[in-house]
C-alpha cells in the first residue's frame, strides 16, 4: 500500500505539472494578454508595458513558470486587484463555508440515496420503484438552478417556512448560526446527487443480488434482511466509492449554481464573480486548487476501494 501511494503521488506531481503549464499558457490566451485583461481596453501602451514589467510578463515563459510555481509553493496563489485581497486569503475565507455546504449536501444525499436505491433494487419493478425512478430522473433532468428557484418559490415565497437566501457571514460559525437558511441550499444541492447515488446503488444491488454468493447465503438459511445488509451492502458500496471520490473536487470548487442562486458566500460564488469580472488570478488559483482536489479524490477513492474489497491489493 505504501509503495502504491508513493507511486500515485509521483503520478499526481506529473499531472500537476501539466495542469499548471496549461493554466499558465491560458493566461496568455486572454485577448491582449493578461495585463489588458487586468487594466481593461482603455489602458495606454505605456501602462501596459509598465504592468508587464511589474508582473514579469515580459520575461521568458519558463522563468514566469518557475516564479509562479515558487510562489505557489510558498502559498502565494496570486493577488486579486479587484477584490483587493490575496487569492489565498479569499480561499481561506470562502473554502470552509463551501465545505460546510457540500459536505452537508453530500451526507444528506447519501442518507437518502443509498437506502432508497437498495429499496428500489429489492422491490424492483413495483410501484414504489417506478415512483422513485421518476424522482431520480427528475433530479437528473432538471437544471440545478431551476430546482433551486422552485424551492425558493414554494418554501420561501409561497409558505414562508425558510428564508430565500443563504446565510451570510465571513466565517463558518456565522453560517452555522443560521441553520434555517441552510435548508434550501442543502436540499437543492443534494437532490441531484441523490438521483446519482440511488440510481447507482439500485443497479449495483441488483447486480449483486443475482450473484452466486447471494444464493450461497440463502442456502445457509440467511434471511433476506441478512443477505442484504450482511452480504450485498458492502459489495454494492464498492462502485459507489469511486463516484464519491470523483465528486470530491466539488468540495473545493463548490456548487456554483446553488451558491449563485442562493447568494451563498462560498467558493462557487467567488468563482462565478471572478469569471464575470475577468479576475484571472482568482480563476487560476482556483483551477490549481481544484486540480489538487481532483487528484486527492481519486486517491481517496482507490484507498476506499482497497478497504472494501480485499481482492484489491496495491503493490
Amino acid at each position: 500500500m505504501t509503495g502504491y501511494l508513493i507511486r500515485r503521488f509521483g503520478q499526481a506531481l506529473i499531472v500537476l505539472f501539466f495542469v499548471t503549464v496549461i493554466t499558465l499558457l491560458l493566461i496568455h490566451l486572454f485577448p491582449g494578454g493578461p495585463v489588458r485583461a487586468m487594466l481593461g481596453p482603455r489602458a495606454t501602451v505605456a501602462q501596459v508595458r509598465i504592468f508587464n514589467h511589474l508582473y514579469g510578463y515580459d520575461r521568458p515563459l519558463y522563468i514566469q513558470y518557475l516564479k509562479w510555481i515558487d510562489q505557489l509553493l510558498h502559498g502565494n496563489l496570486g493577488f486579486s486587484p479587484k477584490l483587493n485581497m490575496s487569492v489565498a486569503a479569499l480561499i481561506a475565507q470562502d473554502l470552509p463555508k463551501t465545505i460546510v455546504l457540500v459536505l452537508l449536501g453530500t451526507i444528506v444525499s447519501l442518507l437518502f440515496g443509498i437506502p432508497l436505491g437498495m429499496y428500489q433494487a429489492v422491490k424492483r419493478y413495483t410501484v414504489g420503484d417506478y415512483v422513485l425512478t421518476g424522482v431520480s430522473f427528475l433530479g437528473y433532468a432538471t437544471p440545478t438552478f431551476f430546482i433551486a428557484l422552485l424551492l425558493v418559490e414554494w418554501f420561501a415565497v409561497d409558505i414562508h417556512i425558510f428564508p430565500p437566501f443563504a446565510p451570510q457571514g465571513s466565517s463558518v460559525g456565522q453560517i452555522l448560526a443560521q441553520p434555517q437558511g441552510l435548508v434550501l441550499p442543502v436540499i437543492a444541492y443534494s437532490f441531484v446527487l441523490y438521483a446519482l447515488w440511488s440510481r447507482y446503488m439500485r443497479s449495483s444491488v441488483m447486480d449483486n443480488l443475482v450473484q452466486d454468493y447471494v444464493r450461497t447465503a440463502r442456502a445457509k438459511g440467511a434471511s433476506e434482511r441478512r443477505v442484504l445488509w450482511g452480504h450485498v451492502f458492502r459489495n454494492s458500496l464498492i462502485s459507489i466509492v469511486t463516484l464519491l471520490g470523483l465528486s470530491l473536487p466539488s468540495l473545493v470548487a463548490g456548487a456554483i449554481f446553488i451558491e449563485v442562486v442562493f447568494n451563498y458566500p462560498g467558493m462557487g460564488l467567488a468563482f462565478f464573480n471572478a469569471a464575470e469580472d475577468v479576475d484571472f488570478q482568482v480563476l487560476l488559483g482556483f483551477t490549481v486548487l481544484a486540480t489538487v482536489a481532483t487528484i486527492l479524490g481519486n486517491l481517496l477513492a482507490d484507498i476506499g476501494y482497497a478497504m472494501l474489497d480485499p481482492r484489491v491489493r496495491y503493490n
Binding site: I6, D212, Y213, A219
Partner: protein, 692 residues
Amino acid sequence: MAPLLEISDLRTDINLRRSVVHAVDGVTLHLEAGETLGIVGESGCGKTMTALSVMNLLPAGGHIVGGQVRLAGQVISELDDEAMRRVRGNDIGMIFQDPLTSLNPTMTVGKQIAEAVQLHREVSKEQAMDRAAEVLDLVGLPRSRERISEYPHQFSGGMRQRVMIAMALACEPKLLIADEPTTALDVTIQKQILELIDDLRRRLGMAVILVTHDLGVIAGRADRVAVMYAGKIAETTDTSTLYANPRHPYTEALFHALPDKAAETRERLYSIPGLPPDLTHPPSGCRFAARCRYAADRCREEEPTLRGETAGHEFACFFPVGERERGGLVVSEPGPVEQALPPAPAAGGAVLLAAEHLVKDFPVTRGAVLQRRVGAVSAVANVSFEIRTGETLGLVGESGCGKTTIGRLIVGLEKPTGGAVRFDGKDLVGSRGREYRRQRRSIQYMFQDSYASLDPRMRAGAVLREPLEVQHIGSRRDQDKRIAEMLGHVGLPSTAVDRFPHEFSGGQRQRLGFARALMLSPELIVADEPVSALDVSIQAQVLNLMRDLQTELGLTYLFISHDLAVVRYLSNAIGVMYLGKLVEAGPADEVYLTPAHPYTRGLIDSAPVADPAAEHAKVEAGVRGELPSAIHPPSGCRFRTRCPLAQEICAEVEPVLRPFSVNGHQAACHFPLQPPVAADATATASAPTPLP
C-alpha cells in the same frame, strides 16, 4: 421407515416476461439416509431446478406449482419463508458449481462459515469461529486456524470448494445437495473433492444428491441414478443396472455419445440429432420422440409413464432398448453402434509444425515507483514437439500447465521468450509484415467459448467474411460463395448468414467458430478446448465434424483439452504437460494404455469413466495435492512434489525425455512405470509415427 427425502410429482415453473417455462414437470424421487442419488442430464433438463426446488431457492420468477417435497416426514415444500430458513443450511446443506463466485469476496471464509453456525445454533461468535475451524479441519484444509481469517480469493479452486463444503456441513445436515460440485475443477482436484464428499457422507451418515452432467462422476459415487430429460425423469434405477442395461433410448444415446469407449475403436460417436425441446411449450407425447432413433407414431401422441418391468428400475418409454429384466438379473449387451469410420487418418506426411525448445515466461513485477521485474511465471519451459500433415496432436494437462500458452504461441498471439516454431520448415517467430500475414492464413485458432469469441453485433455472414477481408481475398461474390460453401461444410443452413451469434445454440455456435477458422483454408487448426463447454451429445456432433473435415480437407490439428477421453478419441499422438513441461508424449493409445510417467498415470486414474465397476476398482489412485506455483517451480522434476515415487534425485536432477518405444513414446521421469528402451533405438522426433 419412510425415506429421508421424498419428492412426489414435483412441478416447478419459472415465469418469464411473456411465457412460463415448465422447468420441472412431475418429478418423483426418494432418497434414504446415507444414500447417494445421482441426478444426471444435459443442460436445461431440469436437474438443477429440481435441486433448487428442494431447497426452495428458485431464481426470480420460479415457484413450485405442484407436488410435494418431504424431508424426514415433514412437508418442506409448503413451509413459509421463516420455517424454510431453519431447514436451509441446518437440515439440508448445498454446494454449487463455481466455488469462486459462490463465496462472498469481501468476507473472510471463517466468518462465512461461522454465519451458518450462528444462524442455526445458539452460540457465541467465538464458538461459531471455533466450529468454523473445526469443519475446515474436517474437509482437509491445512492450517485451518490461520486460514479462517483469509478471503476466498486467497484460496485455490479446490480449496475454495472445500470451504464451500465446510460451510454446507457446519450444522451437520441430514442431506447434502451438490450441484455440479466439480465441473469447474481439474480432474485431479475433482477426484479429491468427490472422495471427500463420499468420505464425509460415510462419516456423518448423511444423504447426498449429486447433480451433474457427467456420467463418469455419477458412476463411481452414486448408489442410484435418475436420468432427466426436458423436466422429467426418463429413467431411474441403481447405478450398476443403469450402466449395464440402460432401457431408455435417451440414456443409451448419452452413453453412445461418450468418447471413452469409442476411443479404442475410433468409431464414429453417436450424436443425438436436434436440440432439447422448448420447455415453455413442451411437446405432447414423449418429449424425447423428436430426437429418438426408435420413435414411432405412438411416441408422438401418447406420453409414456415412468414404469418398470422389475422393482427399482423404471423408465418412461414405450419401446425400451436393452435387455428385458427378470428378478433383477441383467444381461448386458452393447447397444447398436453407428457405422464405423476408418481410424483417424493414417498420416506419415511431412512434418508440418515443429516447436523447438519453446519457452514462455510472463514477467512478474513489483516495486513502488519503478516496476522492477522480480521473477517470472514459467508458463512453457523448453517444450519440443512435431506434428505431421494430417495428424492430430492432443495436448492434455491440468489448468495452468501451459497447454493454452503453447496454442497461443503457435498461432502468434504470444511471442515466445525462447525457442522456435517452424511451419513447413519456415520460422514463424522471426517473420514480419507481408510474410507474417501470409503465414498466418495457414494456422487458425478455434476457441473454447464460442459465445465470447464471436462479436455479438456481427451477423454470421460478417463473422465468416472478416478473415477474407483482412487477408484481401476474393471479390464480394467470391466471398459469398465461400461463406455458403463453408456453412455447408460445418452443417449450418445457408440462411444462417443473417443470424446473430445469440440466435444459435451452443453447438451451432461452435460450428460457426469452426467455420470461421476454416475460411482461409488453413493447414493447421489449433483447437483450444473446443468442446469443453458443450453437452455430451453436442460434443459428439462437434467431434464427429472435426473428424469428418480432417479427412475431407486434409487438416492437421493441435487439439488442446483437459479431457483425456476426448483427446484420445481425436488424436494420433498425445502430449502430456505438467507445469510448463512436456512430461510424456507418444502415440495416443500407447500413452493412454501404457503410460510411463506417474503424472500421466495419475491423470488417467483421476478422470472418471462411465463404468461403475472400473470406478470402484480405482482406490486411492489419482494425483494428490495441488499444482505448485509456476513462479517458483520445484527444482529438478517439477512433478516431484505430488509424485508418489519421488526420491532425492528428483529434486536435484531434472529428468530428460527418454524413449519408451520405437514409435516415439517418450517420457521425462527418473522412475518411470516401465523400463525405457535403449536410447539409440529411436529418432529424436517427439511426435510419433502412428501405430501400424
